[in-house]
């Protein structure tokens, strides 16, 4: 087959750079995700079966079943899974993403983000906060109660506030936050604050109950990672229009289910190329160490896929110590390395610390295999046992085997 790879990749970069992610609404999974029913659970990463799932993913699934009222306790929930009644679906296949275990169920509210340039939509859950939360595999009553509050109180308030405020331009917030020291994977404090400035003046107009208003404003302003899920949905809507360009070697998705790391490549459609996940290196919360941590997990690598997160570590000196990087110059070196494996630079997401150069954009599988430089990811770390939660944060790479497999498949498809 005659294809012009370099032209195809230029088109991919152009589509990424011209994307316009915008928060337009809050919707419920049951209303917008294809095939979603009470017994369907969306999870992070490529598809996998219960028997192959890691501890935190199993813990989160047990919690998600209880959250939907399908079981009263962990034993009942596990029995339901073993009976085969629960259907597991990769979030990406439903047009959605979720951080860490990535739980998305029937009743959950989702940010609805639209790429105004191409007209496509993407969805992500609302961030639960840090510590003992479902995305890290925790599943006790405190976790379920918080999720119910998100569904019944926070989401309706945000929806009404958005109706008043109108759509919120997320591209502008991401660009501003990069200039304020966020990389938008493990540091979202600037982006979360900018978002709060946009939405809170309208939240105070739509929530009449003073106690509830205080709870909502405290929740949004008290969570430095609140914006992460909006950055992820922005990544999803930015990368989806890049799929299916004939002869294109640019990565359109990177994601992990806690067992395997998967990538998708534009010219190879919806096929996942998978390899076992690696263990992040980083810092642990007091009382925990590497022996407690589960390997890499989550859809949040969609942020690196469109060029921020670990790829813009050089813009975020303050995240360096949190993820265990050795120095600010090492963080800048990570970003410089990512320029070696990408098609180009972002025209909007620029880094003042690197002379306003653009974020490394459009991972080219050819460059990854040729240089041996692997995409770098800033990530949270979950406890390996079900039900515990977050134990630290660190840096991890995508495994080379995914890129080698994709390159072989690409060669086979286009050159026989």
């Amino acid at each position: 087959m005659k294809v012009n790879i370099n032209e195809a990749n230029k088109e991919a970069l152009n589509r990424i750079n011209s994307a316009q992610p915008t928060l337009v609404d809050i919707k419920y999974a049951k209303d917008v995700l294809p095939g979603m029913d009470k017994y369907t659970i969306g999870h992070a990463g490529p598809p996998l079966e219960w028997k192959d799932m890691c501890g935190p993913l199993k813990g989160a699934i047990i919690g998600a079943i209880k959250y939907e009222g399908l079981a009263q306790n962990n034993e009942e929930a596990e029995e339901l899974v073993v009976s085969g009644k629960i259907k597991f679906v990769s979030n990406h296949s439903m047009g959605a993403v979720g951080p860490m275990t990535g739980m998305i169920t029937y009743s959950m509210p989702l940010f609805e983000v639209k790429n105004e340039t191409f007209g496509n939509y993407g969805y992500c859950t609302i961030n639960e906060g840090l510590g003992k939360v479902m995305r890290f595999g925790a599943n006790d009553d405190e976790v379920i109660t918080r999720l119910k509050w998100l569904e019944e109180k926070l989401a309706p308030a945000l929806k009404k506030a958005l109706e008043l405020s109108g759509p919120i331009n997320l591209k502008v917030i991401i660009a501003q936050a990069l200039a304020m020291g966020d990389e938008m994977h493990q540091r979202n404090i600037a982006a979360s604050s900018l978002f709060a400035r946009k939405i809170l003046p309208f939240v105070v107009k739509v929530v009449e109950d003073r106690e509830e208003l205080e709870k909502i404003t405290s929740f949004i302003t008290g969570n430095d990672q609140f914006f992460l899920n909006l950055a992820m949905a922005s990544g999803k809507v930015t990368m989806d229009p890049v799929k299916g360009i004939e002869g294109c070697t640019i990565v359109t998705a990177m994601s992990r289910n806690g067992t395997n790391f998967g990538i998708k490549v534009s010219g190879l459609g919806e096929q996942w190329f998978e390899a076992p996940v690696l263990m992040p290196k980083g810092l642990f919360f007091p009382g925990y160490s590497e022996k407690d941590a589960n390997p890499d997990i989550g859809d949040s690598t969609i942020v690196e896929t469109f060029g921020i997160g670990g790829f813009t570590m050089g813009a975020a000196p303050a995240v360096v110590r949190f993820v265990g990087a050795e120095s600010v110059s090492a963080a800048m070196e990570y970003t410089r390395d990512m320029w070696e494996i990408t098609e180009g630079k972002s025209n909007i997401y620029q880094m003042p610390t690197l002379d306003f150069q653009g974020a490394p954009t459009g991972i080219d599988i050819r460059k990854v295999v040729e240089t041996g430089i692997l995409p770098v990811i800033n990530t949270g770390m979950a406890h390996k046992e079900p039900g515990v939660g977050q134990v630290g944060a660190g840096i991890v790479n995508a495994p080379m085997e995914c890129f080698v497999q994709a390159l072989l498949a690409f060669s086979q498809k286009y050159f026989g």
Partner: protein
């Protein structure tokens, strides 16, 4: 003239390519050295190199 012998009579200025431990060793002995990060393309895998050549 024996060039290698002449070379080692002067102050060494070394450009190290590839393995960082050689560079670290020189620096620890006080030698003037610069390090260039380099790896064989595709880790030296000939099958992958042939594919990459096709996909230029």
């Amino acid at each position: 003239m024996n060039k290698p012998v002449e070379l080692f009579k002067k102050e060494l200025k070394v450009v190290n390519i590839g393995l960082q431990t050689f560079y670290d060793s020189l620096k620890s002995q006080g030698a003037s050295a610069a390090h260039v990060e380099w790896k064989p393309p595709a880790g030296g895998n000939e099958e992958l190199l042939a594919i990459l050549q096709k996909l230029k």
